[in-house]
Point group: C2
Chain length 355, copies 2
């Protein structure tokens, strides 16, 4: 009965820590879920309190299809300038859904917690997650929590899955790029990866580098609204792990095309450039969490750039190159000095646990 | 270029191990995904190869709603009699969706791998997962893979999310139990938890105890087909973590009722009973992964039991008690000796990492 009494007091969110009981499916687990997670994510769907959450009637959405995406998040450190694993786990999955052209609507979240992790920090993460979800207009509708012994995890891992609605007539997958299309990016590159690495290495820069972590669904909606001919939107993709270079190579292969970039047109903040030099990184391979690549038909370039630039998350949108015919599916770049360089896939490990 | 060449050879599935590169989003990650995961889960939707997977047109499903469920799986050991973390991660989430009365259709899977984990074992897990999904009639349509450093994980963690379709007129959530309803279980209890714990403790029993891990969606469909009045089905729930006792307490609170059980009617295999005695466990609190609680209106009892017993996974279905009016929402049990006992929630940790 002593054990039972413990869990009738409110959760100690000041000095308490995750213990194995929080993952065992009894009173302690129930308490963690209701007092910490449900409180932070609060919405009527989650309050159903079942293992399976029944979603609202979707019959009014008109013709279209659902899009599903999932991500495991293992970022280290858990808190970083510009976000934490909670906001990142929302942004990452919202963006994966949004990059198909779909409107993200629902998220699920599953947590793998390490025994001993401070409940206060877990609450900060959950609250940040709830806030990110509200800002992105998505509801966290189902969840699960497991606990592993000390030394068998690393604080907090979060897997999120997103469900979104893709109206008929919209497509933005990686197979649609055609020679002559133009390649845009929504802003400067490399901030997320460099912000994380600066934290890990305790590097100090004059200007702190802040992760660009953000939900891009609003930016996608703005772009779509500005393009009367939906077919002129060819590809949307967020250059996360592997960065711009790897993402463009994937698109090149999927579409069976080549690409040509101009190095001087690729936006990188001076402090990111400096940090990359110090860390021995190429910003083209560094992860972003709030930027997107937009490939459009040439006649849609002006409308697309104007729409992107009118949104706070796309203020720095620019054209960086073109899609070209190339049976080798190579991505090439004209360098600052006027030479030509191959932009290959990311080969080995560059930045582990960046998301 | 040396690094690049490594990843142009096929994955070494005999002696290779997970390395940090497999989570970095470059060639190595791409290779792991295509040669190991996509090969094991093979279906046209997954082969879309985008971060967001567009599902088939669902407009022909008729009136109804979608159900989402998610689970993190951290079971230890990863392989056990009757299954492994791969099959379990399919069964667990398929069952969470099925317990709402919905038909599970799609799964997503995200993997958190520990550096150094043998690729051959990972392949066994992925193949087992693919087989479990095919047997359950669901498609694994999207995935993600992350790698953490040695000592920051524990081999393999898998989070799965399930999406299913709930036709109009079917409901089975935990709020629907009413006094007078009868409580059935689909078979004997405690096998999953005891099978796992026997492995951990290296206990040897004369008869090996095998996990009951199984997908219950087929059993649910059989049951639903046998009940002409869908409202006579009140609650479906799989007694996983916390076992029968915790699950019935949850339903009692959600429905605002009490329950009365008869200990002599609760089916437990003799070897499970013996193992529980040895391990100091109460089988009512031990996790199941292939059993379900079915609460039906009294007039539906015979049809429900007959339908369950006609299916291989429900052959041992029996009535174990009744729903009663009780403002305290207590679950009580008449013991073998004729006394009365409170069946409380699971209070503390009983079996960590059981799923």
């Amino acid at each position: 009965m002593a054990t039972r009494k413990n869990y009738q007091r409110p959760l100690d969110l000041r000095t308490g820590r995750v213990d194995m009981n929080h993952g065992a499916g009894g009173r302690a687990a129930h308490q963690l879920i209701t007092e910490l997670f449900v409180a932070a994510f609060d919405n009527p769907l989650l309050r159903q309190g079942h293992d399976g959450t029944t979603l609202p009637d979707a019959s009014g959405l008109g013709p279209g299809r659902w899009v599903l995406a999932t991500d495991a998040h293992v970022i280290s450190p858990l808190f970083f300038p510009g976000g934490d694993i909670g906001s990142l786990s929302v942004h990452g999955t919202v963006n994966d859904v949004a990059m198909s052209g779909a409107t993200p609507m629902y998220l699920t979240a599953s947590f793998i917690l390490e025994e001993g992790y401070p409940l206060a920090d877990l609450q900060r993460i959950a609250q940040s997650m709830g806030q990110a979800a509200r800002e992105a207009g998505v509801a966290i509708v189902a969840g699960d929590t497991k606990v592993v012994e000390r030394g068998k995890g690393d604080g907090v891992f979060i897997s999120t899955t997103g469900l979104g609605w893709l109206p008929q007539g919209i497509a933005a997958d990686g197979t649609r790029a055609r020679p002559g299309d133009v390649i845009l990016v929504s802003g400067s590159l490399g901030e997320h990866g460099v912000a994380i690495l600066s934290q890990r290495e305790s590097l100090e820069f004059e200007t702190q580098i802040v992760s660009d972590s953000a939900a891009l669904n609003g930016l996608v909606a703005t772009l779509l609204a500005a393009l009367p001919d939906k077919d002129s939107l060819r590809v949307l993709r967020d250059p996360t792990r592997g960065g711009l270079a790897t993402t463009l190579n994937e698109i090149a292969v999927q579409s069976g095309v080549g690409m040509h970039l101009r190095e001087t047109d690729i936006p990188v903040l001076p402090q990111v450039d400096a940090a990359c030099e110090l860390l021995g990184l190429d910003p083209l391979y560094v992860a972003n969490e709030g930027k997107m690549i937009v490939i459009v038909a040439p006649q849609a370039q002006e409308a697309a750039l104007a729409a992107l630039r009118a949104h706070p998350l796309g203020a720095g949108a620019v054209r960086i190159g073109e899609v070209v015919a190339d049976d080798s599916h190579f991505v090439r770049m004209t360098t600052e000095l006027g030479g030509q360089r191959m932009v290959d896939w990311l080969s080995g490990e560059q930045l582990p646990r960046i998301c």
